[in-house]
Amino acid sequence: MTKYSALLFISGLVFLLMVITGLLPMGHTPMLVGNAILEGAKDQVGAANVVTSVVLGYRGLDTLGELSILFAAASVVGLVLTKSSFNKHASNNDDKHDHHDSGFVAVNAIDLIFPLLLVVGMYIITHGHLTPGGGFQGGVVLAVAFSMLVIVRPRRVSINHGMVSIIESFAGVSFIVIGVVALFKGQSFLQPLLGHGEFASLWSAGTLPLLYLAVGLKVGAELAGLLLALNTDEVAS
């Protein structure tokens, strides 16, 4: 019954969405804001990657909000899972059979890849204003690096939750502080500071790289925390 009515309404929705799509100016959108940004980004922000200018410059508050959402999600996961399962898990840790390290290949490969991943992650973060990439992407790579370590050696490697939370707090706070500094200088919140530097070089685009560093750390820490929390619980259940 549900399936058929779902099918009926879904097909209605498909039809209506298709009609709407037909009405949209596909492929040649007005781009009012987009063009203005493409014109002005070089002078106003100074990042070669215009997307970065948008993410951290024009729409910096969105990014802050998104970091907060990640933070909120991580907090909730921590709240929901720690309360019920971490303690239990700790008590019957030894009885579990599947807490072995992964096989030889995985362990050694991770040992090899881990530093590489760190470097790549940091590279992506620090070059976010020049190339495609940035704090989110780099942060994800960092998080993956750390969580892979834990996955292949669940018993020997553990990540200090306190450390993770301090990093995430620190990163979030520094993002806000960079924004508020501008406010104290009589400018607007999250206004880019420190001048533009030489265009398309590593040291350019003012505070944007710093912000991206904060974002990268934050995303890395949150995601690592999330992955670890979920991983632990999965093992426990």
Binding site: T2, S5, A6, F9, I10, G12, L13, L16, V19, I20, G22, L23
Partner: protein, 629 residues
Amino acid sequence: MTFLDHLFIVVFISLIAISALRNLRIVDKLAPVLYGLILIMLVRMSSVAYGGDVYLSSVSLDLLDFKMHWQFTALSWYFAIITVVAALASAVFMSGDWGRQYREQGGNYGMLQLALIVNVFSMILLLGSGDLLSLFIGWEFVSWASFLMMVLSPTKLAKKSAVKYIVYAMTGAMALMVAIVMIYSVNNSLEFKQIGEVFTQMSTSSQLALVLLFFVAFAIKMGLLPFHLWQAIAYAETPGPGAAFLGAISSRMGMFTIVLVIVQFIGLGGLKQLGISFVNMQTLLAWVAALTTIIPTYIALQQHDAKRLLAWHGVGQGGYMLLGIIMFDSIGSAGGLMHVLNHASYQAALFMTVVAVMYRTGTSDLNKLGGLVTQMPLTFLVMLIGIIGLAGLPPMNGFVSKWLVYRSLLVNGQPLLFVAAVLGTLGTILSVYKLIHNTFLGQLRLEHQNVREVPWSMLVPMLGLSIIVFITGFMPGLILPWIASVQESVGLPVIAHHLGGIEYAKGGLDMIWVSGILFYGFGVGALIFYFLGGKSKRVHQYDNYAGGHFLTSDVRYHYSNNFYPGLMHLIGGWYRGSFKWLENSIVSVVSFFSIFFENIYRAKQPVMLLLIGVVLALFALYRNLGVGA
């Protein structure tokens, strides 16, 4: 400051004083004084009832761009004086021993006093309303005030019926609100005179809707068919004098608004133009009124609780009032209006007698009483006067108003309505006989051997009311000037009157003559009975023989259970729950939709609802807007 302001101030101060002092004994004595004061304030304004100018209040409220003001016309004054006298009588009644007993039995006496003054306050506010908004506010106040009084009853049934009442009242209020909104939306004004102006501008269907909405609102308050189910139980279960007050006047606020709105502003022409072929709004309302006189009366006949019997009669008598006023001629409307006062006076007196009997015997069950005439002769006298009034027999005031109504029906060529009204009266006579017979006549019960007459604090208001019943019946000319100015103020043809009654081309009425002849006849009969009939011997009540056997005092020979069995057998089936069915079916419909919506809210997969909502919304837009690229 006009006299009207003084009235409002006094009423308001009384409200404050009684609510502040309600838990002290002093309130017993204070309340009657305050009602007396209010009465004096009203009497000061009596010029309005003799054709004087309308009293305007100097207070007006500007709230949210609505201007509210208050005024007292002859109509308001007429209803107000009934209200205040009824309240005064009730307050005196409960000030003495009744109040003490009520307190001892765990009743909340302070709340009762408070409810009474709140009722008076809100009724005065309603009666004094000068525009539709203040009318609505007063209307709501009256509803909630009577709810306050009803919930004071300790029994579960009474509370249930009070809740039922408030649902009905809210329905009425909402209907009234829609009607007011309809008027407001035409000219953006809430003045009374807008009703008439807007009415003429409206389309026929809107006119019909407007009249029906107003009528539903007022009919619910007045307990007209088919909205009568709440009233009787709710009133009957209200404690003591509260029931007397509510039964006397509360539901007549519906009558007030009918006269104020429908009679005054929509008028006969307006009602007559609505309808198809021979059925127009006037005949419809008249038949509603006629049925209201019959059906509740015969329900009353079936009751074996004295208070309920009276309360059902209260519903039925409302029909006469509407029947009279809906004729729109001088005598009919005079009859309808006068019946308000008459009914209030005898209904309050009758309720008080029943409460007095309850005070002494602890029951109002007609199957458990009897023979109290020897113990409570004055109460008996009051009840006798009251039931003569209620039955509409000379020389009491009920006769006058009912005569006027009958006369009007005949003159206007409505024989069927006349028959219906007479049928109602027949039922009334039967059931009031049951009331007085089962209570006061016949065999005195053993457990009532030591019952005494009630104290003077209760007798005085009862006797006072019965004097009013008699005097206004004997000399209706005392009241008729008020009626005449009411008629004048609402634009009805004015009745020609004198002290004894009315002058009318097709046969007037002079109650002084009628009563004179009646008393003359009684006198002759008494003479024959006492002097020519000769011998009678006074025996003790238990000195009885039947079939040659001595009847001991514990043998029950008082015929009270299952009164009128043949009649009951005939009519019983018709009355059993026919309107209950209506009420229940409404509840069932609401239940049905409620379960339907509940199941929507219990969706196993809420996202489905989201999908359906989105698709339907988009589809509606698609249908409305098309895809004009």
